[in-house]
């Protein structure tokens, strides 16, 4: 699959470090949680989840994302995908819990909307966390699809603390499926709580690793100890597949050297 050319039609600043780029083309067949490879020509190509069928929401973290932030309406990008496995969509009337941290809200907001549009809106509960009020992403989209618990590290909105503080207090057994995306340290803590409660196999985690080929061939994003490819076997994994793995412990960078998550 070659890249298709998309033109940026709009940009929205979601937080001081996070911006949504809307395209003139829509990826209607994409399942929430799948990713596309975004080619900033002449710079790099990076994996990004779709936050709308025609948009990506990007946090400025390195050279490639900084170059992306220099682009404006009318500029173009190359896109290939969608790739990988998205979230397992819930059955009608299932109660679902979403746990989103920071820009991890990007794949979960379209999932919330998908569920809300196909079932009864009261079935979606979201725990949305961020460092502070300015970094909360898509609070309104989650608010519109069901119940929402907001946490901020500094207490500038919602409860002061972490998403896991809320998770520890709610009745996990009420939910048929649980979906989470956010910093790996946060997801590892979520995993720990769910694992202890025996609920990890009804939970799905959206993982990040350094991708090279993005199509399941090169092996750069394989996880220990089963050799699962995050780009092709994931990026969304059932919690059962993450028991006793490198998840939450270490990850490999571009050269294959292990580093902290």
């Amino acid at each position: 699959m070659r890249h298709i050319n998309v033109t940026i039609t709009n940009t929205v600043d979601e937080s001081p470090s996070t911006r949504t780029f809307f395209f003139d083309k829509s990826f209607e067949s994409a399942i929430p949680g799948q990713f596309v490879m975004v080619w900033i020509r002449g710079v790099d190509e990076i994996p990004m989840t779709l936050s709308y069928t025609n948009a990506i929401t990007v946090q400025k973290v390195g050279d490639a994302t900084s170059a992306l932030f220099k682009l404006d309406v009318g500029d173009s990008l190359g896109i290939r995908g969608p790739f990988g496995n998205g979230f397992t969509l819930p059955q009608k009337d299932e109660k679902i819990l979403l746990i989103a941290g920071g820009v991890g809200a990007a794949p979960l907001a379209p999932l919330a909307e998908h569920v809300a549009n196909s079932g009864t809106w009261s079935n979606v509960t979201t725990i949305l966390g961020a460092r502070n009020v300015n970094e909360l992403i898509f609070a309104n989209r989650f608010f519109m699809t069901g119940e929402i618990h907001v946490t901020t590290d500094d207490g500038t909105q919602g409860r002061r603390g972490f998403v896991t503080d809320v998770l520890s207090e709610i009745d996990i057994s009420e939910y048929d499926k649980i979906y989470t995306c956010g910093p790996e340290i946060m997801m590892a803590r979520v995993f720990e709580i769910l694992h202890k409660a025996g609920a990890h196999s009804k939970a799905e985690f959206s993982l990040h690793r350094y991708f090279k080929c993005a199509i399941g061939v090169c092996g750069a994003c394989c996880m220990d100890p089963h050799g699962l490819r995050v780009c092709k076997d994931g990026p969304v994994f059932n919690g059962e597949l993450l028991v006793d793995t490198e998840f939450g412990k270490y990850k490999r960078g571009a050269s294959g050297i292990r580093g902290r998550v």
């Binding site: 070659r2 490879m37 173009s76």
Partner: protein
């Protein structure tokens, strides 16, 4: 079971270098999913992050890549190789590269504590400055490096050849003179693709190497020519995605095949090709692959 350079392969399908070979765990997975032997990602003397993405894209006729020899260095890879050796019930071959004979020796020596079953010398990567095909297109350098490694290690040494030369046979002969136990042919074919919306070369490195379906006839011809000239076994690689391709490569002269890009279609490709080869041999009354290796040379 197939014996190749003294190694006992579960079947004649081998995981090619650079595919699912960055971690010990992924190598074990490929062995469990049916590979008769596995080759690691090419490992060098220093950590390398490789080229910027896009580093691999699927084209209409195959795959184009320029990874840029990313690897954690032999020091960091040692634990991956140990994991692979502990978990694989098939031979594990360490692919190594360097800029000169000393580099190759350093890497081979550094990985030896993990006891790889063989070394494969990468003198054929088409897109890494100062490495790979830059040295693999010079028969004198290939002979020197091969001899140095063969003298220093006590396991078989395979030499992987580039097709991006005028005469691959002269390079194969150099490897044989240097003491190689087998040659592996071919690495990717130099290639390029351009984004017509903007004119940008697609790969981060601008150009790279082509693999997959399109290069199979090129590989078949290289294997055919090498078989006619060499006494050591030839391992055929390039565009093999089904059992028919493997049979064809063996008829050209390959004693075994390596499979790379076809992992895209599924990691079970090794088992299905190995089964297909067995069925073909049975159906045609052959006792084993020896009956068909180089058959194309005999029927005329």
């Amino acid at each position: 079971m197939v014996t190749l350079t003294g190694l006992k392969l579960k079947n004649p399908t081998i995981l090619a270098a650079g595919i699912m070979g960055t971690t010990g765990a992924s190598l074990v997975r490929m062995a469990k999913e049916g590979a008769g032997a596995v080759v690691t990602k090419s490992i060098g003397p220093e950590p390398k992050e490789g080229h910027h993405n896009p580093s691999m894209v699927q084209l209409e006729c195959g795959f184009l890549n320029a990874m840029g020899l990313p690897n954690p260095s032999y020091e960091a890879f040692l634990q991956e190789l140990e994991f692979a050796k502990n978990g694989c019930s098939v031979p594990v071959i360490a692919s190594i590269f360097g800029g000169n004979a000393d580099d190759f020796l350093k890497v081979a020596d550094g990985l030896s504590p993990a006891k790889p079953d063989a070394f494969e010398l990468n003198v054929s990567c088409p897109h890494a400055e100062g490495y790979g095909a830059m040295i693999g297109s010079d028969p004198y350098v290939v002979e020197e490096i091969t001899r140095a490694v063969c003298d220093s290690v006590d396991v078989p040494v395979w030499v992987k050849l580039t097709p991006n030369v005028t005469d691959i046979v002269s390079i194969g002969e150099a490897a044989e003179r240097g003491g190689a136990d087998a040659v592996v042919a071919i690495n990717t074919v130099r290639a390029m693709a351009i984004d017509i919306a903007t004119g940008y070369p697609i790969l981060g490195n601008r150009f790279g190497g082509l693999s997959g379906e399109a290069i199979k006839p090129i590989a078949v011809k290289c294997v055919y020519d090498l078989y006619a000239a060499l006494d050591i076994p030839i391992i055929g690689v390039g565009g093999i995605s089904k059992w028919q391709d493997a049979i064809e490569m063996m008829m050209a002269g390959a004693s075994a095949v390596q499979i790379g890009s076809a992992v895209f279609d599924g990691t079970g490709v090794f088992g299905s090709i190995a089964d297909g080869i067995d069925n073909y041999l049975d159906k045609n009354g052959h006792a084993g692959i020896k009956d068909i290796i180089g058959l194309a040379h005999e029927v005329i």
